[in-house]
Amino acid sequence: MVEARSLSALGSRALLYAILIAFAAFYLTPLIVVILNSFRSFQEITQTSVLGFPQQFRFDNWAQAWGSYCIAGICSGIKPYMWNSLMIAIPATLISTLLGAMNGYLLSLWRFKGANLIFGIITFGVFLPAQMKLVPWAITLRNLDLSNTVTGLILIHVVQGMSFTTLFCRNYYVNVPQDLIKAAKVDGAGFLQIFRRIILPLSPPILIVTVIWQFTGIWNEFLYGITFSEGSARPVTAALMALSANIAQAREYGIESASVLIAALPTLLVYLFGGKYFVRGLTAGAVK
């Protein structure tokens, strides 16, 4: 009786791990495929399939993708574009996060009439499809005289990002006790002082979430990146596109794989190291 029980427990335990590992394989396969392909030659891939172990590890895909693949006659690979993406993603991430935190603070802790309506509207922004906003943005950028500037792109990502960052931060701040604000008011702290000294230090969990979310989103974005940037100031997604299908060209699976890996590295690292905090903070903010 006792033995049978423990046996079945052992069996279900094994099944548990089997399922978990099967799923792990499902999630890892594409990554492994891309990694392996990045070491295979064009001929090797096209003659067999994209799934395959390199006959011989070749690093020239990586070298080409990183430093010598030609895009518009500039044979510098995607290296310089990585830098561009950083120059766009980092400020846009930081600013949109900060403003989202500010908005969240304003909407949740300085309750005023219509705060919920404003929040609802801002949240609705999360659902607007990107295509719909492309032309309005072009007009807006023209009116602000920011066309084809990095500043313009940052502005776009900041404003669009605010929908998400506000959503996250507000939902997080609703759980901050109102008494804290009252105490600070009695202490004589002003709007900004309360934000800076009391609310911000409480925020790392949710700030990590918004930073990761925003950074990933902005880094991976390409529609706006291509449309509102120019020449060598293009983000890395634009460079990646240069590698993928063109009517008159065959696909360079190897180089494409290497480039995808290089371009995805920053966000992958962010998830690798920040994933734990991301999840923790997200639950704190999303449940509401």
């Binding site: 548990l16 791990y17 399922i19 978990l20 799923f23 792990a24 999630y27 890892l28 594409p30 990554l31 495929v33 891309v34 067999t48 399939s49 994209v50 799934l51 395959g52 403003l99 500010m102 908005n103 404003i118 509207i121 801002i122 609705f124 999360v126 659902f127 607007l128 499809p129 990107a130 295509q131 719909m132 492309l134 032309v135 309005p136 404003v159 605010m162 929908s163 506000t166 002003g190 709007f191 990933t216 991976n220 997604t237 993928s244 494409e256 995808v260 371009a263 995805a264 992958l268 998830y271 690798l272 994933g275 734990k276 991301f278 999840v279 997200l282 639950t283 999303a286 449940v287 509401k288």
Partner: protein
Amino acid sequence: MSETAITMPGQARPARPVPRRSWLSEIPDLLTRIVAGVIATAAVGYVVGFTLWTVLISFTDSTLLPEYNFVGFKHYWQLLNSRIWQVAYLNLTIYGLGFILGATGVGLLLAILIDQKIRGENVLRTIYLYPMALSFVVTGTVWAWLLNPTIGVEQFVRGLGWTQFKFGWLVDRDLAIYCVVIAAIWQASGFAMALFLAGLRSLDGDLYKAAAIDGASPARMYLRIMVPAIWPIVVSVLVILLQTAIKTYDLVRALTAGGPGIATTLPTNVVYDYMFQRGLMGAGSAAAVMLLLSLLIVLLPYAIFQRLRRGKGGGHG
């Protein structure tokens, strides 16, 4: 009271100046509040402004650039009657349901399995979560390779010796949409898993004990007690996935390019196609507005539900 009662300090305390500061010192505070207000207004203005603008344009015959010759509901009727829009909507329904339910289901299953005090939890969680870091373009591209019968899994398995193996979903016009679903689930289910897991972890441990004493089997325990208990998280996940589903565009573009034929076209692809490929901004805007309207049909009940829930005073959460 009158002037006579100006702060006479209490017995034991020394006289102190009236702590009234000049109105000037309030200015920086006022200013920051105004700035904060402006920022919030900008966020609102962006949503309202861009939406209204799109609605406006949807009633015009704008082509390559916005123009303001109004044509009423013409684009709406044409779209509703057009084959591609009907196909796209049907696809969105299949994809949306498949993706949302699939990702939620897989996420939930994984969360529950991981919750069983297993070894290597951190590693597994990271593996399940990492696809979130990738863009839909990359996801689409890589899955296009894998699912492609000529260079992907099919070819691979045949290469292993099983020469009759077939896996042609991607090129089957009835099944291709499920490839999109699979790729999307691959990307987002880890995210759902992580949220569910955190939710399960936040539950009162006594709940498990109570269920154990009641004699609930694990399946019953999770389905009847734990999942309903984290319902707010489930709803959040559903909403986040819904927003992803509605906005999905690059995935299809990279995975199937809407094909075979128009079999995997989604409304966002139609919006993009009309606005930019065909240069029919008016019709494209109408498509976008209809997409948003259908979103409202889903979201409004949710908002009302939220309001009711809060109104009933279910406490926190």
